[in-house]
Subunit: 379 residues, 4 copies
């Protein structure tokens, strides 16, 4: 079978650069697809690092200026894996050059930037998607199926947390390549844009629009050395954030995120309580979905731990056999697969920029409410 | 060994009447104590039911008017197991008669009532305690030990939930003997006073004072038949409540309670994240404490599930042997044991009325914030 | 309601003496029964200890010779809580005196003794039961219901283990009051009679007769100080035992027990795999039953953790409310309840001596096979 | 960095062909290695299927006769992924041609064949390894580290099971491409060679030599349609097998495997109880290791669930960040990595053919004991 090549131009080579590159490498090994990614070129300011990355993953070429990359004729799609403060500029340039865009989350530094980006891709008419990869963990995708089928009935409660503990030490710096997520200038916000954004994206997808929030944020370590200046500087990001929310469907929600939850490495958890059934999931055992079904016989009701590894569960017939689990990286493979399929069908690959803008609005509302102490509505 | 009798006068014979009576019956079977409860009399308006209850538990006598009970000379302590709206009146009368008082939680309908009750027992100089029984689940008591020893270090986060699902059906009535908790006139509030009050009591005990909250509440089912009038009436209690909080020690908290969390019967959960260690506990497996210790060797760090059934764990040397668990009712036995010991030592048995008043203040602030949408401070 | 008294004469005051006494004390507090135990007298050689025990539990009288106890006219039932080597003699005397007998497990030192005991009670026509208490953990009782209803279909596999770790240290003595279980003369065997006997009793109850076994045993610590002689003596009990078995229904089984499984205090586990469904249970979380049902919709199949605390689950409507767990001691309360009910109906209270003899036969076969290395059939 | 190519010739294209091919594709993406696999050619009788497989994974060429493949000069290593009955013949031919060999487990149909294969590779002096991939699940590798460091002390017990449920239906055929594992002629044995072999390999690696076994096997479904003949034929493999074992270090063991354990897809579990600590692991949550350490403070002892995803845990610094799990397929990537490293160092990559022969001997002893009913020693 011959494939239609999709020539990828990658900007950035960090953690997400690897995760996306692996997605491009693996998609056609496990799924039968019309399109096939070709790793055309990677752009990064540091030529040596770009070269090493290209060698590792098989990119044919490098650029040291992303502007050159987005102008290349031999590239179909730009993948943006830079710190958040560059998303907008690169996306606008890519759209102007008619490139498809796969942008790492969060979409932008704020809603205003995001709105510009949406208008750019919509005007250019280019395929676009944002890497909210957790939608494509098979257990999470199955949760979406169950909700859409009405298995939960009326929803009363939504609960999500994303807990980490890697910044408890005061010795962790801010800024630079490895720790730009602690630098407000590069990241925009702290856990809100980094972690809560994931929770919000999934929540809107599963449970519909959020209409209002009240929030609190905290910065536990007030000053950290900056990796670039070498000086102690005020920390301007939010170390922790929590908010109460109401959804359009009448359900109530609590959301929380922190990098100070000792014992939790990357514990994204979600739970939905419906009239007829409830669902729980967490990232530390991402291959399991917990399900409680009130329609079960009374004395036999209980929470079921479903090992999502069977052929009749989302994405799984393309991997191994029942009982053999997949991991984190596969969520990116699935997003590549779905993006490639969307090119076949001409349908958008959600979340599009426009979908992801909804999450941006909630993030902005959270930060605003944390300052004002008041409820903030989301239109 | 001969014991000093503590003659109990019980008001009420419902669920809590049984739980407390069992506590009085069992305390001296398992613990060596100077005092020994004597089940002197139970008071309830319905003589037949009072008699049946007295027979079942061995109360020597009944009264159909609690006023008579509190005036009896042959009674040392009054146990209040009525709906919340009677707590104050009975407590005031009991104190006026010089009786010790063991009052079911929450202390009162609101802070003002609670303050009156505190003044009454303090003026009378009578021993008093409120049945926030979860403090005396051995795993919870051990959590308190660990925190007091400094094993957690600086606290960053506190999280508590109390989730139930028994009122989802619209056919559940309000009011009457079995469902007075859904009737605002008898209960004062819904999940806030019933369930959140437990979470708040434990939280203050483990983590210190709460300084401010922002809250939301919801009543999902707007009208229910009233068991006494037989008519559909507006439901005035909170079916669900959630709030964000800040503690005096600088930590952040989320609290949530509901009776619409399908799949959770009585799931009280708590988690505390400290700089050095973290703790988790839940009521559905109340004999376990989860503990994460950052001081463990790096590659061997993980959450430990401690089966709290050993002789070196709180209260457990008086029960069976390691590995054999106790249950819910034992928390009440422990409170009886500690109350009897407090009579030996002359020290108060926490939580006293004054301790429990703090919880009442937070409950009031939650309800106020849910109305106003603003943060409410607690002094 | 007035009750028919059942006057109990207890022999022994150790761990099991407490567990049974608690059963007698609690049964009528929680269950409505025609009969009601009266704690008439306890017999033990040490008068002081007997007296203390009587005081703690409310026995009206003591005896220092069990022979006197079994001859007393004011006693209806003898409860045997001594080391195993006294079971037979006491039971024979009790039967000869026309007393009902409640005998602690295992029934006897061996099959021959057990056969004598069966004949004695059958000849005397007295009610009799053996305290294989785990049958009456609600989750285990529910497992029995499900199997009897055919929910599992054809059974393929049975698996049971009883793991402890309290004798790993060479400093634990053998013999005496506290450690008679390590003394072959008092106990007959080690883990086989103490722990495997429980596993075997439940297995036969749930899955039918065992037809043959092949076994191995080991004594890891070869010599221990004897608590009575003060001298190091050879350890003659089995520290660990494991066996393969075949059941009459064609299913295969593995059984294992040890006191050298570091980390397990009293972990009795069982699992049954049937054509249509499977069941798991363990003693460390005795209030839960794990259930897998192949009839569930394919993608939603998984192991369900059932919190056995609801009114429609065995024994539970007599305790608290859904979500509130009971513990170890309640299994003894339930056996008392069922024994008292059996007096109402005139039906035997299983396991009777005759039922328990089956377990004795398997234990003997296990010990024989461990010596010979060959399969041993059970008739 | 330029690499030394290792040109792979693959025989077979089934489930294991995919798993190994993925290992070759991924190794250099995540690990820095001197050698790099090149997918040179795949051999299979069906040219069309071979071609499709080659396209999917990037093999440059195909052969329809494995004899041609093993003779090709442009191939360095032969990977044997055929049914068991072809292992010996291919291995002998490959060795005769001086090829390195990576052979799927079990090594051979029986010990005699395995011995021939060992002699062939040893005589030829070619690098060789057997794909007992579970050794290289990071949690299992860490278990090995802990044991080798003496963290467990003297070992008392070893326990392993491999439970599946995919052959319960009588409609599953035997023989053919998909179900050759049920055909004794292709597979040699049933669960013994397929599943127990994994358990035995890990056990010997972690706990040393097995000296004797007593076993039982069963074939629950006596006849199945043969996929090739289309006729009902007697089933000659073992559907289920269990055995007791003794290790040279004095510890006792139980092993069990079946394809009739309803509810378990591929549940390989192992547990080791040592004097000082114990370990548990299972394949359904392969990224976790359970650890109990008796050296912990008494009241804080418990089973710890270690999420093996940190940089200081085996293989994990090459994957993602703490908290993000990997899956089943990564064990094969790790075996490729270690095989490539072994070429750098010149050290063997365990398990070699000679290592795997030990497992074969135990499998033979299990089958022999199941027939004779007697203990069988292993020399």
């Amino acid at each position: 079978m011959s494939h239609i090549p999709l020539r990828i131009g990658m900007v950035g080579y960090g953690f997400m650069g690897r995760a996306h590159s692996n997605g491009y490498s693996q998609a056609n090994h496990f799924f039968n697809l019309k399109y096939k990614p070709v790793l055309q070129a990677v752009a990064a300011r540091n030529a040596e690092k770009a070269r090493a990355f290209a060698d590792q993953w098989g990119y044919q070429d490098i650029e040291t200026d992303w502007r050159k990359l987005v102008e290349r004729k031999d590239i179909d799609a730009i993948d943006i894996c830079t710190p958040n403060n560059l998303h907008k500029e690169i996306a606008l340039a890519a759209a102007a050059n008619g490139k498809m865009i796969l942008c790492e989350k969060p979409l932008s530094m704020n809603t205003a930037e995001g709105e510009e980006m949406c208008q750019a891709v919509e005007k250019a008419g280019v395929a676009n998607t944002v890497w909210y990869n957790y939608r494509r963990i098979p257990a999470v995708t199955m949760a979406k199926q169950l909700i859409d089928e009405g298995k939960l009935g009326r929803i009363f409660h939504y609960r999500a947390m994303f807990l980490q503990d890697w910044t408890i030490s005061e010795d962790v710096p801010q800024g630079g390549t490895a720790t730009w997520r602690l630098d407000a200038q590069a990241a925009g916000s702290g856990v809100t844009g980094d972690l809560l954004a994931h929770c919000i994206d999934t929540a809107i997808w599963l449970n519909g629009s959020i209409t209002g929030v009240t929030a609190m944020t905290e910065t536990f370590v007030k000053e950290r050395m900056h990796a670039e200046t070498g000086k102690k500087q005020e920390v301007k990001i939010d170390d922790a954030a929590a908010f109460l929310a109401r959804f359009q469907n009448g359900s109530l929600a609590t959301f929380e995120s922190t990098r100070y939850a000792r014992g939790h490495k990357a514990l994204y958890t979600l739970e939905i309580n419906g009239e007829k059934a409830s669902i729980k999931w967490d990232l530390h055992d991402l291959h399991r979905l917990s399900f409680f079904d009130h329609r079960d016989e009374g004395r036999l009701r209980g929470w079921k731990s479903i090992h999502v590894s069977d052929g009749d569960q989302p994405y799984m017939k393309n991997w191994w056999v029942p009982g053999l689990q997949i991991g984190y990286e596969h969520s990116f493979v699935h997003q590549v697969v779905d993006f490639l399929k969307s090119l076949e069908t001409g349908q958008p690959c959600s979340p599009t920029f426009r979908d992801a803008l909804e999450t941006q609005k909630v993030c902005d509302a959270v930060l605003e409410s944390a300052k004002s102490g008041a409820w903030v509505g989301i239109s």
